[in-house]
Each structure stands twice: as structure tokens, then as C-alpha cells.
Symmetry: C2
Subunit: 243 residues, 2 copies
DNA sequence: TCGACTTTGTGCATTCGTTCACAAGTGCCT
DNA sequence: AGGCACTTGTGAACGAATGCACAAAGTCGA
């Protein structure tokens, strides 16, 4: 998504704020959550230090991240919680409703459809599709499962923005292709496989098994260390925080 | 987990291969999956280029990543699939069985317990705990749900390596503390909150809501672009692949 | 109004990750 | 045996992300 200013059309001589770094984007939701929690506790101002603690990062990083969005703090005071919530929400595009389609109504599809955490941030599950005729018609969380044959119609009729793949890996690529062909440009993939998509389509994957393997790697290494240097064990191992 | 050689104990003058970079570790599971798939197709040798395509990364990166584990390829030929599978598995610690405890037997806990993808890589769910008395005793995927009161005993008796938190955010920190106190040093957190843990404990989080917000951010930006520069739309937007 | 104190925003150094480009091996064919 | 085509492994260039340190800008109390 690099917005290279040299390829801009002549008419649009807009300065266009230098793109927000990807690493920052990934942290904005975390800040947002901390801010929302603070707002609910009646806090109306937070310093970068406090926000940093709540988000589990350094305060310099909070300031740099937020500086990419604009100058929304007040020196000597901190950030006004409500205002910052608004600004981050706007930046992330949470002021609009996003219509989500889930394909695959198995264990995971069920859990996702039942999950309340979606709606709370403007994500609305508009449909749930499955291949299995036995599941079609089933009712989950106010939705009835539709046949995956109707994928294209559903995308068009409901105006789907984001497709979620919760089906077996061997069906993922083909289904992804159908979503893309139908006009979906954002896909969240739970199947353990790599998806190929044309430029302009964004895929993010959530991979359980990978996460466990990363944990296993570090745990193994740690055990190895402890075995080698029994004295240096537990207490001396340096801090290890996750993504 | 930075193994700084200057803090090594005097007795252990072991060269100790320079730690594998975190970014590489995160890709090893992907390579492993591609290799396993290739092996099942009867392929016995892969070049870095082929492996790169299968893993959705560049071939230079594959080579550099693998070079961190050792010199397991053959110039002019490529990598022997079986041998590389073995080496990566060993590096990730998948040659041993990892015992996993899931806390929270709600929607997500159910889905996880039923998930076959765990066992296939040496991760074994040994127990499933919940607070709700109504759920305790329930049978899921060959396990019966136990009371969370018995957390400490279960960890000790079953020799749990990895704790998975699939419970509400407000119970996550306290439960994590109990796991850590009981000796668990690897935690996978699905609750939407930041966990504080002492040094030497590794937490990784899987955050659905964050992923959707990142997708929303990019989608919003893309739509904005298309609106501004209708001619430059769709086809010109540069490739966007996800981590 | 002033001065002490607090906290932001940012230039700079550093560290980490990716990509490039090529020398050094390896297998195959003649 | 020798040359050719291919592919690895890696130094070096590049770029992104992080952390440090401080000037600039604000608040508050006297
Ligand atoms: N369950 C988990 O906790 C979990 C965890 C991580 C990853 N995953 C992955 O998520 C995916 C789904 O997992 P699950 O446990 O829900 O599996 P599941 O078998 O319970 O459900 C898969 C569903 O997809 C449907 N399906 C199959 N092919 C389809 C197609 N072409 N179009 C539409 N629907 C189709 C099936 O009918 C089934 O209902 C899998 O790829 C799995 O590897 C699951
Ligand atoms: N369902 C999803 O698709 C989904 C997706 C992303 C994140 N999450 C997160 O995962 C977590 C679980 O989600 P869910 O949908 O399974 O919720 P859920 O309400 O269905 O299940 C939560 C379970 O945890 C149990 N519980 C509550 N307090 C507990 C405690 N102190 N100790 C042990 N168990 C306790 C409850 O009895 C319940 O069975 C939540 O934090 C949620 O935000 C869920």
C-alpha cells in the first residue's frame, strides 16, 4: 500500500501525509483498546507513559506511533482519551460499518459467528456459508447458514467488504479466488496454507499451529539453556515479549 | 531470548550457533508445511526458488533463513525434502511431544479442543478447564472438562508445557498468573488484552479483532485512493501481502 | 507575569530484517 | 576429463523499526 508520491496523477497535488508504517498500524488497535478501557474507567487524559504501560510497549514508541497520525497530544498534559479514541478510530476506518462474510461453518466458523468482539468495533457478520448441505439452514447467532454456491450473490447483495476463510486448507485457495473475483479485496485466512492473490487484495492469516511452534522453539531453547547453566536458569533469562 | 555470549558462564566456552532471528523462526513453520506437502506429493528435492514460491516469500530469504540453521542444501541441486523436514522439526523442537492445557471451554475453547491440526505436529491437548460448573464434566474431543480450581494440580500432574487462554479478557491476567506460578513458561493468549509476565515467560497473542482492524485500515485507504484517482484504481495498486 | 515542572514531538543512532549480487560448489553431458 | 548449467551460501547494501535524548511547548501556582 505504499503511496508513492511520484506516481500521483497531475491533478492531485495533495501533500498526502506520509503513509503510516505497518508496524504502527498493527499497534493502533492495542492503543485503542487501552484507551477504551481507560475511558470506561472515567479517565479523561493519559500520558504516553501511562498508555505505554497499558499497551505493553515503550513510551517513546507510543509517541512516535501517534505522531504518525498527527499532533493530538498536549505537552505537559498528555492525550485526551476521547479525542484520541476518535482519531485512531478514524484512521483505522472504524467509523464505518464493515460487512464480514464467513465461509466455513465448522468448529471455528461457529465460534467466530458467536463472537461478540466483532460487532463491538463495527464489524458485522452478514453471512455464513458452508458446503455441507447438512449445515445449510442451520441457525447460528441470528444468521442462517447459506450454501457456498451462493457466494457470488451474497457478496454482491450484502456488499461484503471482508471475507473470512474458516474452511479446510485444500478448499481455501479456490474459495479465495471466488471471493476476489466477486470483488472482495480483504481476506482473513484461518486455513493453514499460503494464499496467492492479485495485487490490490490484502490477505492476513491467523495461524494457530505456527504460534504453537514458535512457542515450542523458545521453550526448547530455554530448557536447553537451563540444562547447560543450571545456576543461570529461570531468573536470568532475559525478557521475552511477543509480537 | 538473546543469547549474549558475554554473559555466558565461564565453564561453558561453547561457540553456540548465533541465535536464529525471530523473523526466521516465524517463517520456519511455513517452510515446514510446504515441505511436508511436497513430501506427500512424492517430491524429494526442492530448490530455494520452488520452496520460496510455495511459502510465498523471496528465494533469497529462504536461503538466508535456512542458512541460520546450518548448511543443509546442495549447490546445483537444492534441498533434500525429508532431511530438511527433519532439521527444521528439530530446530523447532517438534521432535518431542508438547503438552497443552486449554483454559476456557467456551466457543473458542471447544473449537480448539476439536482441532485436529494440533496433534499432527506434536501438540497434545491434555486438559480443558472452565470456571462454569455447568460445563465441568462435559466431554469434548475425548477430554472431560475439569474445574479451573484444579489448575495447579493439572499443570503439575500432566506436566503442562503450554497454556492456552480462551477465556474472557477480565479473567486472563489472573489466570495467566496462576499458570506462571504453577511453572508454565509458554502462554498463547486469545483474550483481547495485554498480559504482564515475568522475564523468562513467553506470551504470544492471537487477536482476531486486531487483524480485522488492520484489514479495515488498508481497505479504507484503498477506497480513498480509488475515489481520488479513479483512473489509477484497482490495477495499479501495488502488491500487498501479509505477514 | 514569571519560573518550575511536566510531557510531547522529533532528529539521530542503532539494531534488526530484507534484498541484491556473485563466488564457490555440484551434477550432468559430451 | 573438462566445460556448462544450475543452485547454494553469504558479504554488503539497503530499508524499516526501535530506542535515546532533548528542545519546544504546554500547565500550574504564586
Ligand atoms: N478449529 C480450530 O480451532 C482451528 C484452529 C486453527 C485453524 N483452524 C483451521 O480453520 C479451518 C476450519 O477449521 P474447523 O475446525 O472449523 O474445521 P471443520 O471441519 O470443523 O469445519 C470446516 C467447515 O468447512 C466446510 N467446508 C468444506 N469445504 C468447503 C467449501 N469448499 N466451501 C465452504 N465450506 C466448506 C465444511 O463443511 C465444514 O463445515 C481449517 O482450515 C483449520 O485448519 C481451525
Ligand atoms: N469466539 C471467538 O471466535 C473469539 C475470537 C477471538 C477472540 N476471542 C476471545 O477468546 C476468549 C474466549 O472466547 P469465547 O467466544 O470462547 O467466549 P465464551 O464466553 O464462549 O467462553 C468463555 C469461557 O470461559 C469460561 N471462563 C470464564 N472465566 C473463567 C475463569 N476465570 N477460568 C476459567 N474459565 C473461565 C466461561 O465459563 C466460558 O465457558 C474471549 O476473550 C474472546 O474475546 C474469541
Amino acid at each position: 500500500m505504499s503511496t508513492d508520491s511520484s506516481t500521483r496523477l497531475p491533478g492531485a497535488a495533495r501533500p498526502l501525509r506520509p503513509a503510516v508504517p505497518e508496524a504502527t498500524v498493527a499497534r493502533l488497535p492495542v492503543y485503542l483498546r487501552a484507551l477504551t478501557a481507560a475511558a470506561e474507567d472515567g479517565v479523561d487524559t493519559l500520558s504516553s507513559d501511562e498508555l505505554a504501560t497499558a499497551a505493553g510497549v515503550g513510551s517513546a514508541m507510543v509517541r512516535k506511533d501517534l505522531s504518525h497520525l498527527g499532533s493530538y497530544g498536549t505537552r505537559g498534559v498528555g492525550y485526551e482519551v476521547d479525542y484520541l479514541i476518535y482519531q485512531i478510530s478514524r484512521e483505522l476506518g472504524l467509523t464505518q460499518d464493515w460487512r464480514v462474510l464467513i465461509v466455513g461453518a465448522g468448529n471455528l466458523g461457529h465460534a467466530l459467528a458467536n463472537y461478540g468482539g466483532f460487532a463491538s468495533r463495527g464489524f458485522r457478520v452478514v453471512a455464513l456459508l458452508d458446503l455441507d448441505a447438512a449445515r445449510v439452514g442451520e441457525h447460528i447467532a441470528g444468521l442462517h447458514v447459506d450454501s457456498v454456491d451462493r457466494l457470488e450473490q451474497v457478496v454482491a447483495e450484502a456488499g461484503v467488504h471482508i471475507g473470512v476463510l474458516a474452511l479446510p486448507a485444500d478448499a481455501a485457495q479456490a474459495t479465495c479466488d471466488r471471493l476476489v473475483a466477486a470483488g472482495v479485496t480483504s481476506v482473513l485466512n484461518f486455513a493453514p496454507c499460503v494464499l496467492e492473490v492479485p495485487a490490490g487484495v490484502m490477505v492476513r492469516k491467523v495461524d494457530l499451529s505456527t504460534e504453537l511452534q514458535i512457542l515450542a522453539f523458545h521453550q526448547q531453547r530455554r530448557v536447553f539453556q537451563v540444562e547447560r547453566h543450571p545456576v543461570a536458569g529461570r531468573s536470568r533469562v532475559p525478557l521475552a515479549e511477543a509480537l
